[in-house]
């Protein structure tokens, strides 16, 4: 961990209060604490590192500018991610800086080894493990590209749950939707994603 977020163990409420008083050191600690998690979620949603950097930066600026108005009705964690996800969804909807390359056109570019590994993993024949998937960059690219084909709101739900590991209640808070909506949206998102992934080797 380059920024050493694991070593920061400051009570979040105190940190937020210090930020409200204009304590720059507290602001720095807050950024360091959340920057990797927010950047990772944004990158998985927008699939473009340059855009993810800009959106992460904008997210923290908005967090620090709006921290005086943070009322504590939700946790700071979900409030911060709400800002990040909303900025990213809006960015994706605008389509101004979305990756313009055609994912469909690149399907044939995935190597056969990655496709086979994906097929084995999804069919659960026991030959592939998740750790092996993470080491195959080509397979990771297939997964990220497949995520990009999902609807923005479905992608947000699946990223928050399976990557950021949020609970359903936290997802509902971040996206400002009902708990039942989270369940149905996540169910549809996983079904769609599986279909998209399977289409790569059929």
């Amino acid at each position: 961990m380059r920024s050493g977020t694991a070593n920061i163990n400051i009570d979040e409420a105190v940190l937020i209060e210090q930020c409200r008083r204009g304590d720059f050191a507290a602001m720095e600690r807050l950024i360091i604490k959340y920057q990797n998690r927010i950047y990772n979620v944004i990158l998985k949603m927008c699939a473009n590192p340059d855009d993810a950097e800009e959106l992460t930066q904008e997210t923290f600026v908005k967090i620090l500018e709006g921290i005086e108005n943070f009322n504590g009705r939700s946790s700071f964690y979900t409030w911060a991610f709400r800002i990040a996800v909303n900025l990213t969804i809006n960015h994706c909807k605008r389509g101004q800086k979305l990756v313009t390359r055609s994912i469909d056109a690149e399907d044939s570019e995935y190597n056969e080894q990655a496709k086979t590994q994906l097929k084995e993993f999804l069919r659960d024949d026991g030959s592939s493990e998740p750790s092996a998937v993470a080491q195959n960059r080509e397979l990771c690219r297939i997964i990220v590209d497949s995520l990009s084909k999902l609807d923005d709101t479905q992608r947000a739900v699946i990223v928050l749950r399976d990557i950021e590991d949020m609970s359903y209640a936290q997802i509902a808070d971040v996206l400002d939707i009902e708990l039942g909506t989270v369940k149905s949206r996540l169910s549809r998102a996983r079904s769609c994603l599986r279909e998209i992934l399977e289409a790569n080797f059929q």
Partner: protein, 333 residues
């Protein structure tokens, strides 16, 4: 289909650990007894694992610096812009408010002036009322000051005034007036002066005689292009001008039995001229007719019967009050 969706939701909840104990038990029972449900569960689990297995990307090392730089930039430029916009907005708002207040004050003053000119005492308001000057205007004291034979100013209770008449047919009209004065035997006819198409007749007589003279003049009244009666106010040395006056109105003013009533009658006719001038559409109608809108006078009444509106013998003649009137006849082109 809906059942499948519900089972999918339950299976996803089971995978994510979001079910109650009872729901978990139910799903476990389903998995044990239904291979399809078990297969579906594995599919969803694999999908979740696949996404979760993606490597965690880390923010760039300079993210902290970039955020700080962005905040500083916004503080420097954003605040200045905001302050400038706020100041500009405040000035604009203040300007608009002042303008509104000024407009309201102006409107109230204008409205007050119009109302005051109608209802207020003449002596106070006339000098400052331009509208008044236009119609029932205040004129300077005439060069011909009325006196009695001894050269003393006449009594305050006697009518004193001046009638200015303009006609395009000066010679004939002047001759008619001169003859009418002689025919009515005005004993204290003080004489006349004719100079440059202008005659001045200075009369001092009883009301009945003057009424008789006016009655005679009715026949030639339509030949006057304008007829204005100036009634003197003894108190302030000013005059009330009644434009577009008719013999009937002159008789009505002169016939009042007190100084105050005469002044009041003259003011009433002058005010009627003003109201007439303020009637909406008047200027538009004048423009349509091709006339100048500034000629604001009451149309002279036209006598339609043979009855004389002014009696030759008036009861007031018995009172012996003298009326002093200067008639100025001027030729107009």
């Amino acid at each position: 289909m809906k059942e499948n969706l519900n089972i999918d939701e339950m299976l996803n909840g089971f995978i994510d650990g979001e079910l109650t104990v009872r729901q978990q038990t139910e799903i476990q029972r389903l998995i044990r007894h239904d291979p399809q449900v078990e297969q579906r569960l594995r599919q969803l689990q694999r999908c979740k694992m696949l996404v979760g297995a993606l490597p965690r990307d880390e923010a760039p090392d300079d993210m902290l610096e970039r955020v700080k730089a962005s905040l500083e930039r916004r503080t420097l430029f954003g605040d200045e812009t905001e302050d400038f916009s706020r100041q500009k907005g405040a000035k604009h708002l203040l300007g608009r408010r002042l303008l509104t207040v000024a407009a309201m004050v102006g409107l109230i003053i204008a409205l007050g002036a119009v109302i005051y000119s109608i209802v207020a005492p003449e002596s106070v308001s006339e000098k400052s009322n331009p509208l008044r000057r236009e119609t029932g205007r205040i004129a300077a004291r005439p060069e011909h000051i009325l006196t009695d034979f001894a050269g003393r100013p006449v009594a305050a209770t006697a009518f004193r005034g001046r009638l200015e008449l303009k006609t395009a047919d000066f010679t004939a009209v002047d001759a008619f007036i001169r003859r009418a004065i002689e025919d009515n035997g005005i004993s204290e006819y003080l004489g006349s002066a004719i100079q440059n198409n202008r005659s001045v007749y200075t009369l001092a007589c009883g009301r009945d005689i003057l009424n008789s003279l006016l009655s005679d003049m009715e026949n030639i009244w339509p030949r006057f292009s304008s007829a204005t009666l100036f009634v003197e106010q003894d108190r302030l040395g000013e005059e009330i001008a009644v434009a577009g006056v008719s013999p009937l109105r002159i008789a009505e003013v002169i016939g009042q039995d007190s100084y105050e009533k005469r002044i009041e009658a003259a003011k009433k006719f002058a005010a009627m001229n003003e109201v007439n001038a303020l009637l909406p559409g008047r200027q538009v109608l004048a423009a349509i007719d091709g006339r100048k809108p500034l000629s604001i006078t009451i149309p002279r009444p036209v006598l339609t019967s043979g009855e004389k509106t002014v009696e030759k013998s008036s009861r007031r003649a018995e009172l012996g009050e003298k009326v002093q009137l200067i008639i100025i006849v001027a030729g107009s082109r």
